[in-house]
């Protein structure tokens, strides 16, 4: 299922980023961890219940303005879907 553009993703219980002074930045989950860099970190940092999926897309299209906007959108939606399958996100409407 593709995330709803107007929903607010946020990290699920038991999932958090390591501290800012810990490198590399990592998404910590029960029995799992995911190294984040560049765009994946930009996305996960915005999964705070304050940004809609649409806002995350717009933000990253600005940051990665050299990339094709449609491709950026597709990648973000794909990435959020994968994080959801990992049970790392909750989406609030």
């Amino acid at each position: 299922m593709t995330p709803e553009l107007h929903s607010f993703p946020r990290l699920a219980p038991g999932c958090r980023l390591n501290e800012k002074n810990q490198q590399p930045r990592t998404l910590l989950m029960p029995e799992r961890a995911l190294r984040l860099n560049g765009p994946s970190l930009e996305i996960v940092e915005r999964c705070d219940g304050q940004h809609t999926v649409q806002q995350i897309i717009v933000d990253l299209q600005k940051i990665y303005s050299k990339a094709e906007p449609h491709k950026v959108e597709q990648d973000i939606l794909g990435y959020l879907t994968l994080l959801q399958k990992e049970r790392a996100l909750d989406f609030q409407l």
Binding site: P13, G14, L28, E31, R32, A33, D75, R87
Partner: protein
């Protein structure tokens, strides 16, 4: 508490996180393999109010007088974080049997680790749970021995179900993340639907169904724990269905019973590749059951730093890489996938820790495993489903 007869052993494989198996991504470079230890399994104590018949602790249990102090554990957590460890799994025995448990959680969290508590939930009250949360506990794995009280009592040799249900309610109120852990076997495998229902009625975001792995007390009780082929097939169908139905709500993990598998599990993600286990007295082990392998000398965290042990200890070096492998592993295409399986299982079943794990269909000894399964599956059900004379794990002093 003995949960995880090795749920860790195989469930950890995802920890390598070589990405989510995604196709070409132009801007998302997610992960790479990390050469450091990633998780520290801290066996804080062997003391436990439960007597589970499949406990993954060794048959020889440590007493309280041999346990590491708060100070030593705190240093170990710092050293672990410095060595690249991301997560600490507090286990036992029952880790809540340690009176300094809140202090230990705080120490591990402030060292920079993700702190997971694997517990029966027995020696816990609401105030203690709140204190654990305040100290930085990230996640709890709450063990259940069955969905029905009668089964749970039989398997754990104690009464615990009502308390576990209370703990679940406190977890919801205190917003602490929880995985329900069900160790499954012949005596409770027909309760999977009820187990899922229990999880759905709670605030759990994950369920872990871990088939018993046969080491320690489970090896001693194997004859009465092994599931039948019919049970296994039914469970696989159910798990697949529930994984799809609960997607996005509850993640359903499943640890296969490797006696029925075609290939062995990549035990611990490979010997000395990802995980390190510290026993209650401070010995550093590459695997829960490593003490069954004769001739391995384990170093102690009281004598040497964690990183030195990880890098140089003879026990960790022993089965790293491929030099130790025999045929058919030595030239097998799968040797980088499963690392020849489990060294401790090779010891237990083949009498040789460097042999191919005998559960592998390519092992010359696979017939031995097949004979065990054939005997079981040919037995009349009336014989298989009566309450056996269990060998219960004692609670050490």
């Amino acid at each position: 508490m003995a949960i995880s007869p090795f749920c860790k052993k195989s469930a950890r494989s995802t920890f390598s996180c070589s990405g989510f198996g995604h196709g070409p991504i132009f801007l998302l470079n997610m992960t790479s393999t990390i050469p450091n230890p990633l998780a520290l399994i801290a066996e804080l104590t062997h003391r436990c109010p439960l007597h589970c018949v499949y406990c993954s602790n060794p048959l020889e249990l440590q007493s309280r007088t041999n346990e590491l102090t708060t100070e030593v554990w705190s240093r170990v957590f710092k050293e672990a974080a410095e060595a690249g460890v991301l997560q600490a799994d507090f286990t036992g025995g029952e880790p809540l049997a340690r009176p300094d448990i809140v202090e230990l959680v705080r120490a591990a969290r402030s060292a920079g680790l993700y702190v997971n508590l694997i517990t029966s939930g027995l020696p816990l009250d609401e105030a203690k749970l709140a204190a654990l949360g305040e100290a930085g506990l990230d996640h709890i794995q709450l063990s259940f021995q069955g969905a029905r009280e009668e089964t749970a009592n039989e398997i754990s040799g104690t009464k615990s179900q009502a308390q576990k249900l209370r703990v679940l309610e406190w977890l919801r109120q205190h917003r602490i993340a929880v995985t329900l852990n069900f160790v499954i076997h012949r005596r409770n495998m027909d309760q999977l639907e009820e187990m899922v229902a229990l999880a759905e009625s709670s605030c759990a975001t994950r369920i872990e169904f871990a088939n018993v792995q046969y080491y320690g007390w489970a090896f001693a009780n194997r004859e009465n724990l092994l599931p039948t082929r019919v049970q296994l097939d039914q469970s696989l169908t159910l798990i697949k269905r529930e994984q799809e139905r609960l997607q996005g709500r509850i993640r359903v993990e499943y640890v296969v019973p490797d006696y029925y598998a075609k290939y062995p599990k990549p035990c611990m993600g490979g010997w000395g590749r990802k995980l390190m286990l510290i026993t209650p007295s401070g010995d550093a082990l590459p695997c829960h059951a490593a003490q069954v392998i004769p001739g391995l000398a384990f170093e102690n965290v009281k004598d040497r730093s964690l990183r030195e042990i990880w890098e140089h200890s003879a026990a960790f070096q022993k089965f790293r890489g491929e030099a130790w492998m025999q045929e058919p592993c030595k030239t097998c295409d799968r040797r980088e996938l499963d690392f020849g399986g489990c060294r401790c299982q090779a010891m237990l079943l083949a009498g040789d820790a460097a042999a191919t794990d005998p559960v592998c269909s390519l092992s010359p000894l696979r017939a031995k495993v097949d004979a065990i399964l054939a005997g079981l599956n040919a037995a009349p059900p009336a014989q298989l489903f009566v309450k056996p004379a269990w060998l219960y794990r004692p609670n050490p002093a």
